[in-house]
Amino acid sequence: MTALLEVADLHAGYGPTNVLSGIAFSVEEGGITALLGANGAGKTTTLRAVCGMIRRRGTVNFAGERIDTRATEDIVRLGLAHVPDGRGTFVQLTTEENLRVGALTRRDRKGVAADLERMYAYFPRLRERGSQQAGTLSGGEQQMLAIARALMLRPKLLVLDEPSFGLAPMVVQDIFRIMRTVNREEKVSILLVEQNAKLALELADQAHLLETGRVVLGGPAGQIRDDETVRRAYLGY
Protein backbone atom coordinates (compact mmCIF):
# COMPACT_ATOMS: atom_id res chain seq x y z
CA MET A 1 0.00 0.00 0.00
CA THR A 2 1.14 3.51 -0.72
CA ALA A 3 0.88 6.41 1.63
CA LEU A 4 -1.68 9.06 0.71
CA LEU A 5 -0.54 11.41 3.44
CA GLU A 6 2.98 11.42 4.80
CA VAL A 7 4.00 13.59 7.71
CA ALA A 8 7.62 13.87 8.80
CA ASP A 9 9.25 15.98 11.50
CA LEU A 10 6.25 18.25 11.87
CA HIS A 11 6.58 21.12 14.33
CA ALA A 12 3.71 23.48 15.08
CA GLY A 13 2.17 25.60 17.81
CA TYR A 14 0.19 28.67 18.72
CA GLY A 15 1.98 31.98 19.12
CA PRO A 16 5.21 31.38 21.02
CA THR A 17 4.04 28.01 22.38
CA ASN A 18 5.20 24.88 20.61
CA VAL A 19 2.76 21.99 20.75
CA LEU A 20 4.17 19.54 18.24
CA SER A 21 7.83 18.58 18.32
CA GLY A 22 8.60 16.38 15.35
CA ILE A 23 5.44 14.42 14.61
CA ALA A 24 5.78 11.67 12.00
CA PHE A 25 3.11 9.30 10.69
CA SER A 26 1.42 8.31 7.46
CA VAL A 27 -2.07 7.51 6.24
CA GLU A 28 -2.36 4.66 3.78
CA GLU A 29 -4.43 5.02 0.66
CA GLY A 30 -7.85 3.46 1.21
CA GLY A 31 -7.28 2.94 4.92
CA ILE A 32 -8.56 4.37 8.15
CA THR A 33 -5.91 5.80 10.44
CA ALA A 34 -6.57 6.93 13.98
CA LEU A 35 -4.58 9.40 16.05
CA LEU A 36 -5.02 8.67 19.74
CA GLY A 37 -3.82 10.31 22.90
CA ALA A 38 -4.83 12.13 26.04
CA ASN A 39 -6.03 15.72 26.27
CA GLY A 40 -3.30 18.11 25.22
CA ALA A 41 -1.25 15.48 23.41
CA GLY A 42 -1.48 17.50 20.19
CA LYS A 43 -4.05 15.59 18.15
CA THR A 44 -6.14 18.54 17.01
CA THR A 45 -3.00 20.61 16.52
CA THR A 46 -1.61 17.92 14.23
CA LEU A 47 -4.72 18.05 12.04
CA ARG A 48 -4.63 21.86 11.97
CA ALA A 49 -0.93 21.83 11.03
CA VAL A 50 -1.52 19.32 8.22
CA CYS A 51 -4.25 21.55 6.78
CA GLY A 52 -2.21 24.72 7.11
CA MET A 53 -4.52 26.37 9.61
CA ILE A 54 -1.64 27.27 11.94
CA ARG A 55 2.05 28.09 11.62
CA ARG A 56 4.01 24.85 11.00
CA ARG A 57 7.41 23.52 9.93
CA GLY A 58 8.27 20.09 8.56
CA THR A 59 7.46 17.90 5.60
CA VAL A 60 3.91 17.00 4.67
CA ASN A 61 3.17 15.16 1.43
CA PHE A 62 -0.36 14.61 0.21
CA ALA A 63 -1.21 12.68 -2.96
CA GLY A 64 2.29 13.22 -4.29
CA GLU A 65 2.48 16.96 -3.55
CA ARG A 66 4.30 18.93 -0.87
CA ILE A 67 1.59 20.76 1.09
CA ASP A 68 3.50 22.09 4.09
CA THR A 69 3.92 25.53 2.53
CA ARG A 70 0.51 25.80 0.93
CA ALA A 71 -2.55 27.75 2.05
CA THR A 72 -5.50 25.87 3.55
CA GLU A 73 -7.82 26.49 0.59
CA ASP A 74 -5.23 25.11 -1.84
CA ILE A 75 -4.69 22.00 0.27
CA VAL A 76 -8.45 21.45 0.41
CA ARG A 77 -8.66 21.79 -3.36
CA LEU A 78 -6.19 18.89 -3.70
CA GLY A 79 -8.85 16.65 -2.16
CA LEU A 80 -8.36 16.86 1.57
CA ALA A 81 -11.58 17.55 3.48
CA HIS A 82 -11.31 18.49 7.14
CA VAL A 83 -14.23 18.26 9.57
CA PRO A 84 -12.95 20.62 12.24
CA ASP A 85 -13.24 20.44 15.96
CA GLY A 86 -16.48 22.30 16.80
CA ARG A 87 -18.00 21.24 13.46
CA GLY A 88 -17.64 24.59 11.69
CA THR A 89 -21.33 24.89 10.81
CA PHE A 90 -22.42 27.94 8.82
CA VAL A 91 -25.15 28.69 11.33
CA GLN A 92 -27.06 31.29 9.32
CA LEU A 93 -27.17 29.25 6.12
CA THR A 94 -29.73 26.52 5.59
CA THR A 95 -28.76 22.86 5.83
CA GLU A 96 -28.81 22.48 2.06
CA GLU A 97 -26.74 25.64 1.56
CA ASN A 98 -24.19 24.22 4.00
CA LEU A 99 -23.90 21.13 1.83
CA ARG A 100 -23.60 23.22 -1.32
CA VAL A 101 -20.77 25.24 0.26
CA GLY A 102 -18.89 21.94 0.55
CA ALA A 103 -19.11 21.49 -3.21
CA LEU A 104 -18.34 25.10 -4.23
CA THR A 105 -14.96 24.19 -5.70
CA ARG A 106 -16.50 21.60 -8.00
CA ARG A 107 -17.64 22.36 -11.53
CA ASP A 108 -19.70 19.22 -12.30
CA ARG A 109 -23.26 20.36 -11.56
CA LYS A 110 -24.83 16.95 -12.15
CA GLY A 111 -22.32 15.24 -9.90
CA VAL A 112 -23.04 17.77 -7.14
CA ALA A 113 -26.80 17.20 -7.43
CA ALA A 114 -26.26 13.43 -7.28
CA ASP A 115 -23.96 13.77 -4.26
CA LEU A 116 -26.54 15.91 -2.48
CA GLU A 117 -29.02 13.06 -2.87
CA ARG A 118 -26.39 10.58 -1.70
CA MET A 119 -25.77 12.61 1.47
CA TYR A 120 -29.51 12.75 2.15
CA ALA A 121 -29.58 8.96 1.75
CA TYR A 122 -26.75 8.57 4.27
CA PHE A 123 -28.31 11.05 6.68
CA PRO A 124 -32.11 11.12 6.20
CA ARG A 125 -32.35 13.58 9.10
CA LEU A 126 -30.57 16.19 7.02
CA ARG A 127 -33.18 15.94 4.26
CA GLU A 128 -35.90 16.70 6.81
CA ARG A 129 -33.91 19.74 7.92
CA GLY A 130 -32.98 20.81 4.37
CA SER A 131 -34.43 24.32 4.42
CA GLN A 132 -33.89 24.93 8.12
CA GLN A 133 -31.19 27.27 9.43
CA ALA A 134 -28.24 25.05 10.29
CA GLY A 135 -27.71 26.84 13.62
CA THR A 136 -30.98 25.36 14.88
CA LEU A 137 -29.85 21.77 14.31
CA SER A 138 -28.97 19.54 17.25
CA GLY A 139 -25.36 18.65 17.99
CA GLY A 140 -25.67 15.25 16.36
CA GLU A 141 -27.33 16.68 13.27
CA GLN A 142 -24.61 19.34 12.98
CA GLN A 143 -21.94 16.64 13.17
CA MET A 144 -23.69 14.72 10.39
CA LEU A 145 -23.93 17.95 8.43
CA ALA A 146 -20.22 18.62 8.91
CA ILE A 147 -19.28 15.16 7.64
CA ALA A 148 -21.69 15.39 4.72
CA ARG A 149 -20.37 18.86 3.85
CA ALA A 150 -16.83 17.49 3.77
CA LEU A 151 -17.88 14.55 1.59
CA MET A 152 -19.52 16.96 -0.88
CA LEU A 153 -15.97 17.92 -1.86
CA ARG A 154 -15.43 14.37 -3.14
CA PRO A 155 -12.23 14.16 -1.12
CA LYS A 156 -9.44 11.61 -1.37
CA LEU A 157 -8.86 11.98 2.35
CA LEU A 158 -11.44 12.77 5.00
CA VAL A 159 -9.97 14.24 8.18
CA LEU A 160 -12.23 14.08 11.23
CA ASP A 161 -11.58 15.82 14.53
CA GLU A 162 -13.42 14.04 17.37
CA PRO A 163 -16.63 13.18 15.54
CA SER A 164 -18.05 11.55 18.69
CA PHE A 165 -17.55 14.60 20.91
CA GLY A 166 -20.61 15.43 22.99
CA LEU A 167 -22.95 13.06 21.15
CA ALA A 168 -25.34 10.40 22.36
CA PRO A 169 -24.01 6.81 21.95
CA MET A 170 -26.71 5.98 19.38
CA VAL A 171 -25.71 8.90 17.19
CA VAL A 172 -22.04 7.97 17.53
CA GLN A 173 -22.83 4.42 16.37
CA ASP A 174 -24.61 5.86 13.34
CA ILE A 175 -21.77 8.15 12.42
CA PHE A 176 -19.12 5.46 12.77
CA ARG A 177 -21.19 3.06 10.64
CA ILE A 178 -21.40 5.67 7.88
CA MET A 179 -17.67 6.36 8.07
CA ARG A 180 -17.02 2.67 7.50
CA THR A 181 -19.38 2.65 4.50
CA VAL A 182 -17.79 5.74 3.01
CA ASN A 183 -14.35 4.18 3.41
CA ARG A 184 -15.26 0.80 1.93
CA GLU A 185 -17.62 1.78 -0.84
CA GLU A 186 -16.31 5.13 -1.94
CA LYS A 187 -12.66 4.40 -1.25
CA VAL A 188 -12.25 7.57 0.78
CA SER A 189 -9.26 7.30 3.10
CA ILE A 190 -9.88 8.54 6.62
CA LEU A 191 -7.70 10.19 9.24
CA LEU A 192 -9.50 10.20 12.55
CA VAL A 193 -8.74 11.90 15.85
CA GLU A 194 -10.63 10.42 18.77
CA GLN A 195 -10.71 10.54 22.54
CA ASN A 196 -12.83 7.42 22.56
CA ALA A 197 -9.92 5.06 21.89
CA LYS A 198 -12.00 1.86 22.08
CA LEU A 199 -14.35 3.03 19.35
CA ALA A 200 -11.55 4.36 17.19
CA LEU A 201 -9.50 1.16 17.42
CA GLU A 202 -12.50 -0.89 16.32
CA LEU A 203 -12.87 1.22 13.20
CA ALA A 204 -9.27 1.95 12.25
CA ASP A 205 -6.70 -0.18 10.41
CA GLN A 206 -3.75 1.78 11.69
CA ALA A 207 -3.31 3.81 14.85
CA HIS A 208 -0.72 6.23 16.15
CA LEU A 209 -0.38 7.20 19.76
CA LEU A 210 0.50 10.79 20.62
CA GLU A 211 2.00 12.03 23.83
CA THR A 212 3.06 15.64 24.47
CA GLY A 213 3.64 16.45 20.83
CA ARG A 214 5.32 13.22 19.75
CA VAL A 215 4.24 9.93 18.24
CA VAL A 216 5.23 7.36 20.84
CA LEU A 217 3.78 4.30 19.18
CA GLY A 218 2.31 3.34 15.84
CA GLY A 219 1.09 0.23 14.11
CA PRO A 220 -1.91 -1.88 13.12
CA ALA A 221 -4.93 -1.02 15.24
CA GLY A 222 -5.47 -4.65 16.18
CA GLN A 223 -2.03 -4.91 17.71
CA ILE A 224 -2.49 -1.81 19.84
CA ARG A 225 -5.90 -3.02 20.92
CA ASP A 226 -4.49 -6.35 22.05
CA ASP A 227 -1.50 -4.94 23.90
CA GLU A 228 -2.76 -4.61 27.43
CA THR A 229 0.18 -2.58 28.72
CA VAL A 230 -0.27 0.06 26.04
CA ARG A 231 -3.99 0.11 26.54
CA ARG A 232 -3.66 0.63 30.29
CA ALA A 233 -0.83 3.15 30.07
CA TYR A 234 -2.08 5.36 27.27
CA LEU A 235 -5.69 4.64 26.51
CA GLY A 236 -7.17 4.10 29.91
CA TYR A 237 -9.40 1.12 29.35
Binding site: C51, T72, R100, L104, T105
Partner: protein, 290 residues
Protein backbone atom coordinates in the same frame (compact mmCIF):
# COMPACT_ATOMS: atom_id res chain seq x y z
CA UNK B 1 -53.56 65.43 2.10
CA UNK B 2 -51.91 65.75 -1.29
CA UNK B 3 -48.96 67.50 0.23
CA UNK B 4 -48.56 64.71 2.77
CA UNK B 5 -48.61 62.08 0.03
CA UNK B 6 -46.04 64.08 -1.87
CA UNK B 7 -43.79 64.24 1.19
CA UNK B 8 -44.07 60.51 1.80
CA UNK B 9 -43.30 59.61 -1.81
CA UNK B 10 -40.28 61.85 -2.11
CA UNK B 11 -39.18 60.45 1.26
CA UNK B 12 -39.28 57.02 -0.32
CA UNK B 13 -37.13 58.23 -3.21
CA UNK B 14 -34.52 59.64 -0.83
CA UNK B 15 -34.90 56.51 1.28
CA UNK B 16 -33.93 54.36 -1.70
CA UNK B 17 -30.62 56.17 -1.88
CA UNK B 18 -30.02 55.79 1.87
CA UNK B 19 -31.01 52.14 1.56
CA UNK B 20 -28.42 51.53 -1.18
CA UNK B 21 -25.61 53.17 0.75
CA UNK B 22 -26.69 51.44 3.98
CA UNK B 23 -26.57 48.16 2.09
CA UNK B 24 -23.00 48.90 1.02
CA UNK B 25 -22.09 49.58 4.67
CA UNK B 26 -23.75 46.36 5.82
CA UNK B 27 -21.97 44.29 3.17
CA UNK B 28 -18.58 45.37 4.42
CA UNK B 29 -19.64 45.19 8.07
CA UNK B 30 -20.84 41.61 7.71
CA UNK B 31 -17.51 40.32 6.47
CA UNK B 32 -15.11 42.53 8.44
CA UNK B 33 -17.10 43.90 11.40
CA UNK B 34 -15.95 47.38 10.53
CA UNK B 35 -17.96 50.36 9.33
CA UNK B 36 -16.42 51.84 6.24
CA UNK B 37 -16.46 55.55 6.99
CA UNK B 38 -15.11 56.24 3.52
CA UNK B 39 -18.11 54.63 1.77
CA UNK B 40 -19.71 58.01 1.11
CA UNK B 41 -16.54 59.63 -0.24
CA UNK B 42 -15.90 56.63 -2.47
CA UNK B 43 -19.42 57.09 -3.88
CA UNK B 44 -18.78 60.82 -4.33
CA UNK B 45 -15.58 60.15 -6.24
CA UNK B 46 -17.40 57.63 -8.46
CA UNK B 47 -19.98 60.29 -9.22
CA UNK B 48 -17.23 62.70 -10.30
CA UNK B 49 -15.97 59.95 -12.62
CA UNK B 50 -19.45 59.68 -14.12
CA UNK B 51 -19.50 63.48 -14.52
CA UNK B 52 -16.15 63.25 -16.37
CA UNK B 53 -17.46 60.56 -18.70
CA UNK B 54 -20.64 62.54 -19.41
CA UNK B 55 -18.67 65.74 -20.04
CA UNK B 56 -16.43 63.82 -22.43
CA UNK B 57 -19.55 63.31 -24.54
CA UNK B 58 -20.62 59.78 -23.61
CA UNK B 59 -24.38 59.11 -23.40
CA UNK B 60 -25.65 58.95 -19.82
CA UNK B 61 -26.20 55.21 -19.57
CA UNK B 62 -22.82 54.37 -21.11
CA UNK B 63 -21.19 56.68 -18.58
CA UNK B 64 -23.31 55.03 -15.88
CA UNK B 65 -22.15 51.51 -16.75
CA UNK B 66 -18.52 52.60 -17.20
CA UNK B 67 -18.60 54.24 -13.76
CA UNK B 68 -19.93 51.07 -12.20
CA UNK B 69 -17.14 49.05 -13.82
CA UNK B 70 -14.40 51.42 -12.71
CA UNK B 71 -15.85 51.64 -9.18
CA UNK B 72 -15.99 47.86 -8.90
CA UNK B 73 -12.33 47.48 -9.85
CA UNK B 74 -11.33 50.41 -7.62
CA UNK B 75 -13.17 48.84 -4.67
CA UNK B 76 -11.27 45.59 -5.16
CA UNK B 77 -7.96 47.45 -5.45
CA UNK B 78 -8.63 49.47 -2.27
CA UNK B 79 -9.27 46.24 -0.34
CA UNK B 80 -6.19 44.53 -1.74
CA UNK B 81 -3.78 47.44 -1.32
CA UNK B 82 -5.04 49.45 1.65
CA UNK B 83 -7.27 47.22 3.78
CA UNK B 84 -5.46 43.88 3.46
CA UNK B 85 -2.34 45.02 5.35
CA UNK B 86 -4.43 46.06 8.39
CA UNK B 87 -6.64 42.96 8.31
CA UNK B 88 -5.45 41.76 11.70
CA UNK B 89 -4.76 45.19 13.16
CA UNK B 90 -6.65 46.54 16.19
CA UNK B 91 -9.98 48.16 15.45
CA UNK B 92 -8.72 51.73 16.00
CA UNK B 93 -6.01 51.29 13.35
CA UNK B 94 -8.64 50.17 10.89
CA UNK B 95 -10.86 53.14 11.75
CA UNK B 96 -7.90 55.46 11.15
CA UNK B 97 -7.38 53.86 7.73
CA UNK B 98 -11.04 54.40 6.87
CA UNK B 99 -10.86 58.04 7.95
CA UNK B 100 -7.66 58.47 5.95
CA UNK B 101 -9.44 57.11 2.87
CA UNK B 102 -12.29 59.54 3.52
CA UNK B 103 -9.94 62.53 3.69
CA UNK B 104 -7.89 61.37 0.72
CA UNK B 105 -10.90 60.93 -1.57
CA UNK B 106 -12.39 64.22 -0.42
CA UNK B 107 -9.17 66.17 -1.03
CA UNK B 108 -8.45 64.37 -4.27
CA UNK B 109 -11.87 65.32 -5.60
CA UNK B 110 -11.38 68.93 -4.48
CA UNK B 111 -7.93 69.04 -6.05
CA UNK B 112 -8.93 67.54 -9.39
CA UNK B 113 -12.43 68.98 -9.80
CA UNK B 114 -12.29 72.03 -7.46
CA UNK B 115 -14.82 72.68 -4.70
CA UNK B 116 -17.18 74.57 -7.01
CA UNK B 117 -20.62 73.03 -6.99
CA UNK B 118 -21.53 71.38 -10.29
CA UNK B 119 -24.87 70.24 -11.62
CA UNK B 120 -25.27 66.58 -12.45
CA UNK B 121 -27.82 65.37 -15.02
CA UNK B 122 -30.70 63.04 -14.26
CA UNK B 123 -31.34 60.35 -16.87
CA UNK B 124 -35.05 60.46 -16.14
CA UNK B 125 -36.05 63.46 -18.25
CA UNK B 126 -39.49 65.03 -18.51
CA UNK B 127 -41.18 62.38 -20.64
CA UNK B 128 -39.45 59.28 -19.30
CA UNK B 129 -42.40 58.49 -17.05
CA UNK B 130 -46.09 59.43 -17.39
CA UNK B 131 -46.87 62.72 -15.66
CA UNK B 132 -47.58 62.34 -11.99
CA UNK B 133 -48.53 65.15 -9.63
CA UNK B 134 -46.88 63.58 -6.60
CA UNK B 135 -43.39 62.72 -7.74
CA UNK B 136 -40.80 64.15 -10.04
CA UNK B 137 -39.53 61.86 -12.82
CA UNK B 138 -36.17 61.69 -11.08
CA UNK B 139 -37.75 60.52 -7.84
CA UNK B 140 -39.64 57.80 -9.66
CA UNK B 141 -36.48 56.80 -11.51
CA UNK B 142 -34.52 56.66 -8.26
CA UNK B 143 -37.05 54.32 -6.69
CA UNK B 144 -37.02 52.15 -9.81
CA UNK B 145 -33.21 51.95 -9.87
CA UNK B 146 -33.14 51.12 -6.15
CA UNK B 147 -35.53 48.22 -6.63
CA UNK B 148 -33.62 46.87 -9.62
CA UNK B 149 -30.39 46.98 -7.57
CA UNK B 150 -32.03 45.26 -4.61
CA UNK B 151 -33.55 42.50 -6.74
CA UNK B 152 -30.28 41.88 -8.59
CA UNK B 153 -28.33 41.73 -5.33
CA UNK B 154 -30.87 39.40 -3.75
CA UNK B 155 -30.76 37.07 -6.74
CA UNK B 156 -26.96 37.14 -6.79
CA UNK B 157 -26.55 36.24 -3.13
CA UNK B 158 -29.45 33.80 -3.03
CA UNK B 159 -29.07 31.85 -6.26
CA UNK B 160 -25.48 31.93 -7.54
CA UNK B 161 -22.57 29.81 -6.28
CA UNK B 162 -20.39 32.93 -6.03
CA UNK B 163 -23.03 34.63 -3.90
CA UNK B 164 -23.16 31.58 -1.65
CA UNK B 165 -19.37 31.57 -1.38
CA UNK B 166 -19.40 35.26 -0.38
CA UNK B 167 -22.04 34.66 2.28
CA UNK B 168 -20.15 31.66 3.62
CA UNK B 169 -16.87 33.58 3.72
CA UNK B 170 -18.47 36.48 5.59
CA UNK B 171 -20.04 34.18 8.18
CA UNK B 172 -17.31 31.71 8.93
CA UNK B 173 -13.93 32.34 7.29
CA UNK B 174 -12.24 29.32 8.90
CA UNK B 175 -14.86 26.86 7.71
CA UNK B 176 -14.92 28.53 4.32
CA UNK B 177 -11.21 27.96 3.85
CA UNK B 178 -11.78 24.32 4.78
CA UNK B 179 -14.32 24.18 1.94
CA UNK B 180 -11.69 25.53 -0.46
CA UNK B 181 -13.14 29.05 -0.72
CA UNK B 182 -10.58 31.81 -1.33
CA UNK B 183 -11.78 33.98 1.52
CA UNK B 184 -9.43 36.90 0.78
CA UNK B 185 -10.81 37.29 -2.72
CA UNK B 186 -14.38 37.07 -1.45
CA UNK B 187 -13.67 40.05 0.83
CA UNK B 188 -12.16 41.98 -2.06
CA UNK B 189 -15.19 41.17 -4.18
CA UNK B 190 -17.41 42.44 -1.36
CA UNK B 191 -15.54 45.76 -1.44
CA UNK B 192 -15.96 45.90 -5.21
CA UNK B 193 -19.70 45.33 -4.93
CA UNK B 194 -20.06 47.85 -2.10
CA UNK B 195 -18.20 50.47 -4.16
CA UNK B 196 -20.48 49.75 -7.12
CA UNK B 197 -23.66 50.11 -5.05
CA UNK B 198 -22.25 53.31 -3.56
CA UNK B 199 -21.59 54.64 -7.07
CA UNK B 200 -25.23 54.07 -8.00
CA UNK B 201 -26.36 55.89 -4.86
CA UNK B 202 -24.00 58.77 -5.67
CA UNK B 203 -25.25 59.13 -9.23
CA UNK B 204 -28.86 59.04 -8.05
CA UNK B 205 -28.41 61.64 -5.32
CA UNK B 206 -26.15 64.04 -7.25
CA UNK B 207 -28.94 65.61 -9.37
CA UNK B 208 -30.74 66.48 -6.11
CA UNK B 209 -27.93 67.69 -3.84
CA UNK B 210 -25.59 68.81 -6.68
CA UNK B 211 -22.09 67.55 -7.20
CA UNK B 212 -19.42 68.73 -4.78
CA UNK B 213 -16.76 66.93 -2.72
CA UNK B 214 -18.87 67.10 0.44
CA UNK B 215 -22.13 66.01 -1.11
CA UNK B 216 -22.20 62.58 0.56
CA UNK B 217 -21.58 63.74 4.14
CA UNK B 218 -25.29 64.09 4.92
CA UNK B 219 -26.30 61.05 2.88
CA UNK B 220 -23.76 58.88 4.70
CA UNK B 221 -25.18 59.98 8.06
CA UNK B 222 -28.67 58.99 6.96
CA UNK B 223 -27.28 55.70 5.69
CA UNK B 224 -25.59 55.07 9.06
CA UNK B 225 -28.89 55.75 10.79
CA UNK B 226 -30.67 53.42 8.36
CA UNK B 227 -28.18 50.61 8.80
CA UNK B 228 -28.24 50.91 12.59
CA UNK B 229 -32.03 51.11 12.69
CA UNK B 230 -32.38 47.91 10.67
CA UNK B 231 -29.57 46.12 12.44
CA UNK B 232 -26.06 46.67 11.17
CA UNK B 233 -25.59 43.02 10.17
CA UNK B 234 -28.89 42.56 8.37
CA UNK B 235 -29.19 43.61 4.69
CA UNK B 236 -33.00 43.50 4.70
CA UNK B 237 -33.08 45.59 7.85
CA UNK B 238 -30.73 48.12 6.27
CA UNK B 239 -32.98 48.51 3.23
CA UNK B 240 -36.10 48.87 5.33
CA UNK B 241 -34.23 51.27 7.62
CA UNK B 242 -33.26 53.33 4.57
CA UNK B 243 -36.86 53.80 3.51
CA UNK B 244 -38.01 54.53 7.07
CA UNK B 245 -35.29 57.14 7.56
CA UNK B 246 -36.08 58.72 4.19
CA UNK B 247 -39.77 59.10 4.95
CA UNK B 248 -39.25 60.16 8.57
CA UNK B 249 -36.68 62.76 7.59
CA UNK B 250 -39.02 64.24 4.96
CA UNK B 251 -42.11 64.30 7.17
CA UNK B 252 -40.33 65.71 10.20
CA UNK B 253 -38.59 68.27 8.00
CA UNK B 254 -41.84 69.38 6.42
CA UNK B 255 -44.15 69.42 9.41
CA UNK B 256 -42.22 69.41 12.67
CA UNK B 257 -38.69 70.73 12.81
CA UNK B 258 -38.18 72.43 9.46
CA UNK B 259 -35.70 71.57 6.73
CA UNK B 260 -32.72 73.26 8.40
CA UNK B 261 -32.71 70.71 11.22
CA UNK B 262 -33.35 67.64 9.07
CA UNK B 263 -29.90 66.17 9.55
CA UNK B 264 -30.51 66.16 13.29
CA UNK B 265 -33.08 63.43 12.69
CA UNK B 266 -30.29 61.11 11.55
CA UNK B 267 -28.08 61.96 14.53
CA UNK B 268 -30.92 61.57 17.04
CA UNK B 269 -31.82 58.23 15.45
CA UNK B 270 -28.24 56.99 15.67
CA UNK B 271 -27.94 57.95 19.32
CA UNK B 272 -31.38 56.57 20.18
CA UNK B 273 -30.78 53.22 18.50
CA UNK B 274 -27.37 52.83 20.12
CA UNK B 275 -28.81 53.71 23.54
CA UNK B 276 -32.03 51.73 23.54
CA UNK B 277 -31.72 48.93 21.00
CA UNK B 278 -28.12 48.55 19.78
CA UNK B 279 -29.01 45.53 17.67
CA UNK B 280 -31.58 47.50 15.67
CA UNK B 281 -34.89 46.04 14.54
CA UNK B 282 -33.54 42.94 12.83
CA UNK B 283 -29.95 42.66 14.00
CA UNK B 284 -28.63 39.65 15.84
CA UNK B 285 -27.98 40.06 19.53
CA UNK B 286 -24.65 38.42 20.19
CA UNK B 287 -24.11 37.30 23.74
CA UNK B 288 -20.53 36.68 24.71
CA UNK B 289 -19.40 34.92 27.83
CA UNK B 290 -16.55 36.72 29.52
Amino acid sequence: MEALLHQILSGLAAGGIYASLALALVMIYQSTHHINFAQGEMAMFSTYLAWTFINAGFPYWIAFVATLGVSFVAGILIERIVIRPVERAPVLSVVIVFIALLVIFNSLAGWIYTYTIKSFPSPFGGSFFPQNPYMSPHEMGTIGVTFVVLILLYAFFRFTPLGLAMRAAAQNPVSSRLAGIRVGWMLALGWGLAATIGAIAGMMVAPVVYLDPNMMAGVLLYAFAAALLGGIDNPFGAVLGGFIVGVAENLLGAYVIGTELKLTVALVLIVAVLLFKPSGFFGRVIVTRV
